[in-house]
Amino acid sequence: MNRDRRITPLVFGAPALIGLAVFLVLPFLMALVLTFTDQRLVSPQPGAFVGLRNYQRLLSVGALVQSPERDRDTAYVRVRAVTRSDPAWRGYRPLGDFRIGARRVTILAKDPPFLRALGNTFAFAMMVVPLQCALALGLALLVNAGIRGETVFRAIYFSPVVMSMVIVSVVWAFLFDRDLGLLNQTLGAISFGVVRPVDWLGNPATAMPAIAIMSAWQGAGFQMLILLAGLQGISQELYDAARIDGASVWQRFVHITLPGLRQTIVFVLIVTTIAALGLFTQVDVMTGGGPRGATATVMFEAVRHGVREGDIAYGATISVVYFALITGLIVLQQWLMRSRARVAG
């Protein structure tokens, strides 16, 4: 009996567990081994162990402090001239700089594109998760309002989800076009030409928000379905009681709908965040990581190095570091939630 109880779950879990082991755990362990080598996709030379070289290249950062050249106040020696001649800074590139008095401090890194991509990815998540979840909630409330043709609307809102992301990206690249795009034409028309055409995907400031808007539109249908299921799980009696008590629409939303959806919303937030951190297709199709690296993401960098340049060891290093980072965040979040629950309890 006792033995059965231990074996039964394993038997039932086996198909999934074997799948996970073969397609997730094993490749990850292989990737982990690869990170300590210089393995290439195409090479007659056997891969050799290189210790932590890949990690050093990925994560090294430093700061270069420069005083202005004597005769003029604002002229500094070119940073790249320093990093390419001074052996101590070999392999470093500028990530950004700031001034302290007359001195210029340049933050250097061995792989600034990766660090920028890391920042871009989290910035994207910060933009797209609230936007997409709010949009999904709005759509779910609309569809749930009991208007005629509910099923039709549900199908329409869900349709972008089943479309190929590549196709959606191509279409939106047209919509975002500076001169001929629908978005700029509309903005220009409704503002009588006051709003100048924005180069949505060509301006470092707007490129990532543009991709976030498009991604939210594409993905919201999926979260809408989940939230819809959550909405329909809230007892109608609660609403009836609140209406009798004279609660307004807003009060009913804040005090019944939101608390009733709490678990669903947490789930939707987590799922959306995971999807957002894997951003790749839209970037690859719409911007190629540009302009000037403003939309490059971690996955994009991993594919660029690991597959397109054949440096599979470095691509694996990016993936492993990213995995560690996300795992760390999740552990931290879990710990925070648990300690908050303890305080509340």
């Binding site: 195409v42 390419r84 047209f174 795009g181 660029r304």
Partner: protein, 426 residues
């Protein structure tokens, strides 16, 4: 290494499923099947290659070529997977810049000895894939880049029509572009097909311009560094010029579609011979096909398209060689050109072809290829070189400091060369 072993076994497993499942049933006429892999490029090319293979099989008693088409997008990965698994086909189509990489990795067998030397000698140099002094691949056709514009535009601008012997200088070209822009009719007078952001296009299209300025992707003599070549004085001039094109609004950083020239949004298009039929249809006799400008070191266009090679593991290289020798016959090259509009690679085949003969309507592309085409550098690190160059150039387009961008590209390339121990032979 442990992980490679597992990887190889996995890839073998996956590939065996593919090949064993789709392989042809053996036929009982004593002929030996040779598997051939080609990229799916387009319907015309697909049909023309199939017809070529049929003609070869019809005259053969010893060999039969069995073709398998693979999507072009994942073609490179398929070759890598097949080579890891030791299941390479006998004859493979290879994109010219990748020849060095595959040859260095030991996937290909030199053609010397398998294909008669006089046949290869007749082929335009850029259509021959060489690495380390040996010929590894040879193409039936090539492509040629040119400037396309309208006769009426140049007449209106009172600009001389350049010829192959007297192309525009960089300054003339610059003056024309700025006058076109000032005229107000064209928001972006020049279309560089920047809509395509893939490294293959950017390297193919713009590294020849870099060469015309006097720079290059890497030092071709040694193949060991990009220092002083990709970030030297000539390259800085090229980068500054390229940045100016976008800063002054002469070129759009991302064309919304491929129709800027035929719709009249752009006055001049920098594009390949493959666009010529489309341009001809819309512009008619007003169309002018011109050599790209000479920026000081002669006109340069990219050379080298898809080529044929024999894999190292091919059990019957003599059969594969017979196939390649067959398709290098002038009549076969001319037939391919007639069917696809690609530029034939030998003088005699051009004369036999419909459009590329001395008076043919597409002759200019053959002349451009013969006179100005230079292959991209034959380095096993080409994919890194192409990515580094493209990243640098796109950053320059978007306003990054030219010197910094080219230094970044140079460092990327040099580090990869060092990581691979200078691409020393095994």
């Amino acid at each position: 290494m442990l992980s490679t072993g597992i990887l190889q076994r996995l890839a073998t497993f996956a590939l065996c499923g593919l090949l064993c499942g789709c392989g042809p049933a053996p036929r009982q006429d004593g002929r030996i099947d040779l598997i051939l892999w080609k990229n799916l490029a387009g319907l015309d090319e697909e049909a023309a290659t199939s017809a070529l293979i049929d003609r070869f099989n019809a005259v053969q008693t010893r060999w039969r070529v069995v073709a398998q088409s693979l999507p072009q997008g994942g073609y490179d990965q398929s070759i890598v997977a097949a080579s890891l698994a030791g299941r390479m086909p006998c004859v493979v189509a290879v994109d010219n810049p990748m020849v060095a990489s595959y040859a260095w990795a030991g996937h290909l067998r030199p053609l010397d000895g398998e294909v008669p030397a006089p046949l290869i000698a007749a082929v335009s140099p850029a259509a021959v894939g060489r690495y380390a002094g040996k010929v590894y691949a040879v193409g039936q056709f090539d492509a040629a880049l040119a400037l396309f514009t309208r006769r009426s535009i140049l007449a209106r601008m009172q600009t001389r029509i350049p010829t192959l012997d007297r192309p525009w200088s960089g300054a003339e070209f610059q003056t024309l572009l700025e006058r076109l822009k000032a005229g107000g009719q064209y928001r972006y007078p020049l279309d560089l097909s920047t809509r395509d952001d893939k490294a293959s296009w950017w390297t193919y299209a713009f590294s020849p311009i870099l060469q015309s300025f006097g720079g290059d992707l890497i030092d071709r003599r040694t193949g060991a560094t990009a220092e002083g070549v990709l970030n030297g004085a000539a390259a800085l001039r090229f980068g500054t010029w390229f940045q100016m094109l976008f800063a002054k609004g002469l070129v759009d950083r991302s064309e919304p579609d491929d129709n800027a020239f035929i719709k009249g949004r752009a006055a001049i298009a920098y594009n390949g011979n493959w666009s010529a039929p489309e341009f001809q249809r819309h512009v008619g006799n007003d169309l002018l096909v011109l050599p790209p400008p000479d920026f000081g070191h002669g006109v340069v266009i990219g050379g080298g398209s898809w080529q044929w090679a024999i894999s190292r593991t091919c059990a019957h290289p003599d059969g594969a060689g017979a196939f390649i020798a067959f398709m290098l016959q002038d009549a076969q090259i001319a037939a391919m050109s007639d069917a696809t509009g690609n530029v034939p690679v030998t003088e005699a085949a051009a004369a036999m072809s419909r459009d590329f003969g001395p008076r043919g309507k597409s002759r200019v592309f053959f002349d451009l290829m013969r006179r100005f085409a230079r292959p991209r550098p034959a380095t096993p690190g080409f994919s890194t070189v192409a990515n580094a160059f493209t990243t640098a150039l796109r950053d320059i387009m978007d306003g990054k400091d030219v010197h910094d961008a080219l230094d970044d590209g140079t460092d990327d390339i040099d580090r990869t060369i060092a990581d691979n121990h200078g691409y020393a032979a095994k």
